[in-house]
């Protein structure tokens, strides 16, 4: 596992919008892009086969046994159907990617499914020309190499003499195929030409405000004991922003058992005597007051990144 296993923060980039706002975006992993492509190709092939079968079913045996038979040259309706199949293949192959990526989602069905989309590298508009350019190159950098290398491998196992030129061509095609592995942005040749990249689509939902609920609220008191926790300056200076946000995540997501552990750890650190049964209220109050303190200092330009600083 090389690329797909890269931690998410190695794929983080800053993109500056035309308003001058720096937005963090995450470059799609190579694994998810490969997955999206496989889904798309399966859809296209299945669609073409279904269309083919449908035409044959409608035609009712009209097309039987005429393929590449010079003597029985196709006539009339039969000829029309054959043309229809050729054109449908061409249009589907290029149209599938083009029309969907030009749409408002900027993603094919496969990309949507794995949660990625294309975007302009410059942070500006995604031009139609860019979408076309990146799709024109897909054949040359992906399918020709795959077919060619497969043919070479089969030839090599059959014991054919391949010659230097064939190996040079294989190396050349392999270079195209593996290009995404040679740059940090995972750009394929089509992305380089078009000035695009593939990024993850954000799907965050707005979480609840923590300072309006439970013991973190202004009038916050514990539901269980009815008491209010108040922490002193010294107790709140133990932790920094990193710990605060870890605590926030725990409060939003974790189970009571995990909260009990955190509760014990914090009590040990600030020298309180850990009780039991009221962990959540304690943590909410601690979170609320720690955040109030840190944000207050933040407004004066003083930041404390973590407990070590």
């Amino acid at each position: 596992m090389s690329a797909a296993a890269l931690p998410a923060n190695k794929r983080r980039r800053m993109m500056v919008t035309p308003e001058g706002l720096a937005l963090p975006i995450t470059i799609a992993s190579r694994g998810s892009r490969a997955g999206a492509l496989i889904i798309d190709v399966i859809i296209i092939i299945a669609g073409l086969i279904a269309f083919n079968l449908l035409v044959r079913w409608i035609a009712g045996g009209l097309l039987d046994g005429t393929v590449l038979d010079v003597e029985a040259a196709p006539r009339g309706a039969q000829e029309f159907l054959q043309i229809l199949l050729v054109i449908a293949g061409f249009v589907t192959w290029y149209g599938y990617f083009l029309v969907q990526e030009l749409g408002p989602r900027g993603a094919t069905f496969g990309k949507r499914l794995v949660g990625i989309r294309i975007a302009a590298r410059s942070g500006g508009r995604l031009a139609a020309e860019a979408v076309i350019a990146r799709n024109l190159l897909r054949d040359i950098e992906l399918f020709y190499p795959l077919v060619f290398i497969l043919a070479m491998l089969i030839g090599a196992t059959m014991g054919e003499d391949l010659g230097t030129l064939a190996w040079a061509a294989t190396a050349w095609f392999a270079l195209f195929l593996l290009l995404p592995f040679f740059n940090r942005e995972a750009l394929r040749a089509g992305d380089i030409i078009a000035g695009t990249w593939v990024v993850e689509t954000p799907r965050t939902r707005l979480a609840k405000t923590l300072s309006t609920q439970g013991a973190a609220a202004a009038s916050g008191a514990s539901d269980v004991t009815g008491m209010r926790y108040a922490f002193g300056e010294a107790e709140l200076s133990v932790y920094g922003e990193k710990e605060l946000q870890t605590l926030e995540r725990m409060l939003r997501e974790s189970s009571p058992e995990a909260l009990a552990t955190v509760h014990a750890a914090i009590c040990r650190k600030i020298g309180w005597d850990p009780g039991a049964g009221d962990e959540r209220a304690f943590l909410e109050a601690f979170y609320g007051q720690l955040r109030a303190k840190l944000e207050g200092e933040m407004r004066f330009g003083k930041r404390k990144a973590d407990k070590f600083s």
Partner: protein, 355 residues
Amino acid sequence: MKAPVLSAWFGRGAVAAPPDIASAALRSDRFRLEREGDWRRLESIVARMERGGLKRIADDDLLALPALYRTAASSLSVARETSLDAATLAYLEGLVQRAWFQVYGPPKGFAAWLRDFVLGGWSRAVRAIWLDICITLFVMVAGAIVGWLLVARDEAWYYRLVPGGLADTRVPGASREELLATLATEESAVGLSTFAANLFSNNSAVCILAFALGFAFGIPSLLLMVHNMAMLGAILWLFSGQGLTLELSAWLSVHGTTEIFGILLSGAAGLHIGRSMAFPGTRPVLVAAAEAGQRGAVVMVGVVIMMIVAALLEAFPRQLVDGTGSRFLIGGMMLAFWLAYFFLYRPRRAGPEQA
């Protein structure tokens, strides 16, 4: 961790009413609660745009979109400096990014783009790569001459340059009558449309290959051009040996003026990319490649259209129209049309902005 995909697809349920602003203990949370309504409205507009394009969105929503986008963007800047609520920050970053994709998304759909393309965009792109067209033309002519000279020196080259089928009579040593027969017309149009469809599919694939190979500094594109034109040179040599140059040219010109022009353009588009990557000037290489690639892509869409025309010409008029004069007439008309369309047709740009 990312939220599970399925919940994003199905979980568009009711949104809980935001709590009372005054109840929030923290200033940053009050800030959030005051603006949350705008954010949610923006989110719902963006979600509708992602799903169904612009048509399903009410006018006042659409008018509010830029303002809402800027509100969210400015909220994000403020929140980054005043709030330590990681969940809200992540939500805002995601929301602004989604809205940004919509506000700065593809400026027009495929149909609108196509109209702009036919009415001027295509010829503009062709004129923009004039230098590459000249270079490619030179290389192609040189390739044809090389093919001719090689075969003239040694006939064995013919078999290397021209891949022939078993029944092909177009080989060195063929008689004048045999060669003339290959230029004759078919008796009927039967089977020709299938032939045209296959030709089109095949030729477009070759052109896209020529374009895509330009990525390697344009050299493979030029090699492909030389190879194709050397084949043409060899065939020319064969027919001229029997005094049939004029007849062959007429036969070729019917579709060749369109097809070879298309191949020329695709080679030039490939070379354009290769050249701008090799000599990017003051721009970064990736920026230069992207600019050239987008220009080349426009030319290539045009090439695909030219290949459709060429395949139709190759299948029908070439096989059905007889006589050197009328064949030249068709070919010449096509060439004149393309030249006029690319270099004389210069409409003014439609919109104020051109992406």
